[in-house]
Structures are given as structure tokens and as C-alpha cells.
Amino acid sequence: MTHTKKRIILNNIVMILSTLSAVIGIGFLFWILSVLVINGIDALSMTIFTEEGAPPGYEESGLKHALIGQLMIVGVATFVGVPLGILAGTYLSEYGQKSKLSETIRDISDIMMSAPSIVIGAFVYAVVVAPMGHFSGWAGSIALTIIMLPIILRTTDDMLQLVPSTLREAAFALSAPKYKVITQVVYCGAKAGILTGILLGVARVAGETAPLLFTSFNDNFLNTDMNEPVASLTVTMYNYATSPYEDWQKLGWAAAFILSMFILSLNIIGRLFIMNKKGK
């Protein structure tokens, strides 16, 4: 066998192996997705949105409590985390730039983005739940805010740096003060990117379960008092899925489906923003 032939055969073997692993990997992922969609659609019904949790065996049970709870917990986290993250990101890109302080903050945020979220839950338990003496929706929101901050900060930082410095210089030449340059020129230039960062940040924390387990805890009924334990889709999903009752498991799949669709749409919308921007 000639050397060339050997190389061609080896090449073909590797190409087949690689395609095979792609098929296996993608196959598994689509298996999960199809399981999610089939079970989710099967479990969906109007009562999901209109009824609260019920003991197993009840006809009229739904996820209204978890949906509203989830919106409240993630909503508060977004409301606090987004402005703080954007402002901190603004400092890095516009004021600190390549200073040692900025670089350190960037590094630490990068690490925190991948740090285990359950540890954040333990931290919030220690500083919020334990002193208060009870689980609360606020504690859940605080945990999610801490997880969201580095994501928003880093994307804002990256997106602001993409704005050409000539734009800033032009505004400065018109004797605009720096804060005006930032809020009226730089932010405008980076609008789409920052928005994408926000959407991805919200999508990321919306799927978090571990930090909520011992902060916002759970509640089987509708509770809009953030000072009390509040149900979330993720924790409800966990509790229902691990229960032995078939109707609860079904509700768990419905929760999984609704949550995934929400997160996927945020991701897709975020991508579209960035793509539009590139198209221009």
C-alpha cells in the first residue's frame, strides 16, 4: 500500500468517526429536546395557567403559583441586576479601560460566570435567610442578581468597547461632558449588543434551580409576598419530577416545557438583534 493510500484511508476513517460522533452527540441532544416537547405539549392545558398547585390526584391543578413566582423572582433580579451590571460595565469600558482594577474585575467576573451557582445559594442562605429566620422570595432574587451581574457587566463592557472611539471624540469635540457622551452617544451605538446581553443574562438566571433551593424555597400555592417562600418553575419542576405521583410529574414536564421555550425564545431574539446589527 502506498503512503498516499494509507493517508487517504486514515483520513476517511477519521472523517467517519468524527461524523459519527457528531451524529451521536446531536442525536442525544435531539432526543432530550423531543422528549421535552412531546411530554410538555402532552401536559399543557388551560388549567396549567389558571390553577394553583394541588395535592396529587386532584383534577384541577396547575402551575399558576410557580409561573407568577418565577416572574417575580426573576423580575426583581433583572430590575436590580441589569442597571447595576450596565453601570459597572460602563466603568470598565469607559473609565477604567485597561487599568489594573478593571482587568481584575474582568477576570473575577469571568470566573464568577462559571462558578457553581449552588454556592451562591449557600452564601445567600447565610447572609439573608438565616438572619431573617425564614426563606423568602427576596433571598431568591438576591441570589439570581449575584449570578446575573457578571454576565451583564462583561457583555456591556465588550459591547461598549466595540463602539468606535471616533464617535466619542466627535461628541467631545462638541464639548459634551463625558457622562453625556456615554449616555447619549456610546449607549446608542451599543444598544443592540447591550440588549442582547440583558436577554442572555435573564435567560441564564431564569433556568437556575440550585441557588433557589434554599433561598426562595418553594410553595405549592400562589404567594405574591416576596417576604415569604415563593414557588419558582425550576424548583417546582424538581419537586414534582422527583415525586412518585404521575400527575405531578406531568406538571413537572409542563413546567420544563414552558421554561425552556421562554429561555430559547430569549436566546433566539438576542441572536436576531446581533444579526440585524451585523447586517447594517
Binding site: R7, N11, V14, M15, S18, T19, L20, A22, I24, G25, I26, F28, L29, I32, L33, V35, L84, L87, A88, Y91, E94, Y95, G96, L101, S102, T104, I105, D107, I108, D110, I111, M112, S114, P116, I118, V119, A122, F123, Y125, A126, V127, I146, L149, L153, P177, K178, Y179, I182, A203, G207, T209, F214, T234, M237, Y238, Q249, G252, A256, L259, S260
Partner: protein
């Protein structure tokens, strides 16, 4: 007036940026303070003792550490070859028409919450493991496999990105010399993107070791070290998720905090190695 607002804006943003560093420092301090009881009582035995018996006030974390290490190792062994395969497929093999839709769906799958991977594992994968290996199906092996599938999209996407950084001109030169695709991959792309590829594997490792929800469903939270992978086991995050709300004594509570601290230190170290040692160059982007 403008000068005042200007100063105010600059200082506010700076304050918030610094606050992030302070929060991280605060997390370490709080976890350390709350683990003091356990650190003083058990000392170094905490990480070498194999007995975790809350009713006897005996806390040895070795089974949990062992579980974290083994399940993550299993996940890496399974996910790395698959991720490389997917990445090669996406960056070099797939026809242009497939590249972008498959690539985007992999990235989207990386965004699916891990709790859903865990749920899938519990309902669909545990029975398969039970049928093949016997036992309950809730085991170290199941956890490793579910974990590998959970990190696969993330790993494949970053590996592909690393491979894509290879300049076309280098690849074209190699093709012009008569190289096959495999020649180009092993002699041009992999050497060029080596740091990025290894960095993304280590980053995935850092995420996998702290992953809670994908494994909590399928691991069983049994504090025993067993060489048999088909036996139920536990890991640090699984122990935390299952027992945190049950801690009724100071030592129990404090031991769980020491576990959290341990987990944070381990993943912080792994992620730092990935970021600082291998992925430094990405800072330019």
C-alpha cells in the same frame, strides 16, 4: 453642574464595579466563617474521613469529593471525544448548508437549563441503565453520562470556536501541499488552536464539577465510596442540594458550608487555570 454630574456618574459606576469584587470577597469570607465550627472540630480529617453520619455528628467529606471527581472524570472521558468530533464536523466537514443551523442548535442546547437534563436523565436514562446493569439505575455511571451530555453543547461550541480561529491561509497552504482533511486538522488546526481547545475543556470541567441539577436527580445521595460505578453515590453539589434544608445541628450546618467552600475553591481554581493559562489570548477579542 455638568462637572458635578460627570463626577457623580464616574464615581457611581466605579463604586458598583468595585462592589462586584467586594461581593466575591464577601462570599469567600462568609463561607469560611460559617465553616469555622467544622474546620475546628474535624480539621483535615474532614476531607479524608469516609463516614458521613449526621445522626452521630460525624462528617467526613471524602465520599462526596470522590463522587465529584469520579462523575466529572467520567463526564470528561465521554464528552471530550464527542465534542472534538462535533467540533471537527462543524468547522471542517459539514456542508455549508448544515453548518449554521446545526451550529446554532448546539449553541441553543447549551442554553437549556441543566435541571431539564437531570429530568430527562431520571425518566429516560435511569431505566436504560437499570436494564443494562441491574440495580436501581440511579448511580455514579448515570450521573457521569448525564453530566457529559449536559456539558457537550458548551464544549463543542467553544472547541469549534477555537478551531475556527485558525487562519484560512494556513489551512489552504496545507491543502495546496496535498494534505488530506485529517492532515490539515492534526498538523495545522490542532497545533494552532491547542491552547484554546485545552482551555475550553478545562472550562467545561470547571462547570461540570459544580453542576448540581443535572446530577442531583440521578446520583442518589448515598455517602459511600464504591468502586462499582453502577452503585448510587453522591457528590459535593448533590449533598448540598439534598441536605442543606435538613441541617438541624450546628456541626451539620457548618460541615455543609465547608463543603460549599471546598467546591467554590476547587472550581475557582480550575476555571482560573483555564482562563489565565490557556485562554489568555482571547482577551483581545
Amino acid at each position: 453642574m455638568n462637572i458635578f454630574i460627570d463626577k457623580f456618574f464616574a464615581n457611581t459606576t466605579k463604586l458598583i464595579a468595585i462592589a462586584i469584587l467586594l461581593i466575591v470577597a464577601w462570599i469567600f469570607t462568609v463561607l469560611f466563617q460559617h465553616s469555622m465550627d467544622s474546620i475546628q472540630a474535624f480539621g483535615f480529617d474532614f476531607i479524608t474521613d469516609t463516614k458521613w453520619a449526621p445522626n452521630l455528628e460525624k462528617f467526613g467529606a471524602l465520599p462526596a469529593i470522590y463522587g465529584s471527581v469520579v462523575s466529572t472524570f467520567l463526564a470528561m472521558v465521554l464528552a471530550v471525544p464527542l465534542a472534538i468530533g462535533v467540533a471537527i464536523f462543524l468547522s471542517e466537514l459539514a456542508p455549508a448548508k448544515l453548518k449554521s443551523p446545526v451550529g446554532v442548535s448546539i449553541e441553543l442546547l447549551a442554553a437549556i437549563p441543566s435541571v431539564i437534563y437531570g429530568m430527562w436523565g431520571l425518566f429516560y436514562f435511569v431505566p436504560i441503565i437499570r436494564d443494562i446493569f441491574g440495580g436501581v439505575g440511579i448511580s455514579m455511571l448515570t450521573a457521569g453520562i448525564v453530566l457529559s451530555i449536559m456539558i457537550l453543547p458548551f464544549m463543542a461550541a467553544v472547541t469549534r470556536d477555537a478551531m475556527n480561529t485558525t487562519p484560512d491561509i494556513l489551512k489552504e497552504s496545507a491543502y495546496a501541499l496535498g494534505g488530506t482533511k485529517w492532515d490539515v486538522i492534526k498538523d495545522i488546526i490542532i497545533p494552532y488552536a491547542k491552547a484554546g481547545i485545552i482551555g475550553s475543556f478545562i472550562l467545561a470541567l470547571g462547570r461540570a464539577i459544580g453542576e448540581t441539577m443535572a446530577v442531583t436527580f440521578v446520583m442518589g445521595n448515598v455517602h459511600k465510596i464504591s468502586a462499582d460505578l453502577t452503585q448510587p453515590a453522591t457528590s459535593i453539589p448533590v449533598t448540598l442540594a439534598n441536605e442543606f434544608t435538613e441541617a438541624d445541628t450546628d456541626f451539620y450546618y457548618s460541615s455543609l458550608f465547608e463543603l460549599s467552600l471546598l467546591l467554590l475553591v476547587i472550581s475557582f481554581t480550575i476555571i482560573s487555570i483555564a482562563k489565565f493559562y490557556f485562554l489568555r489570548r482571547k482577551r483581545i477579542a
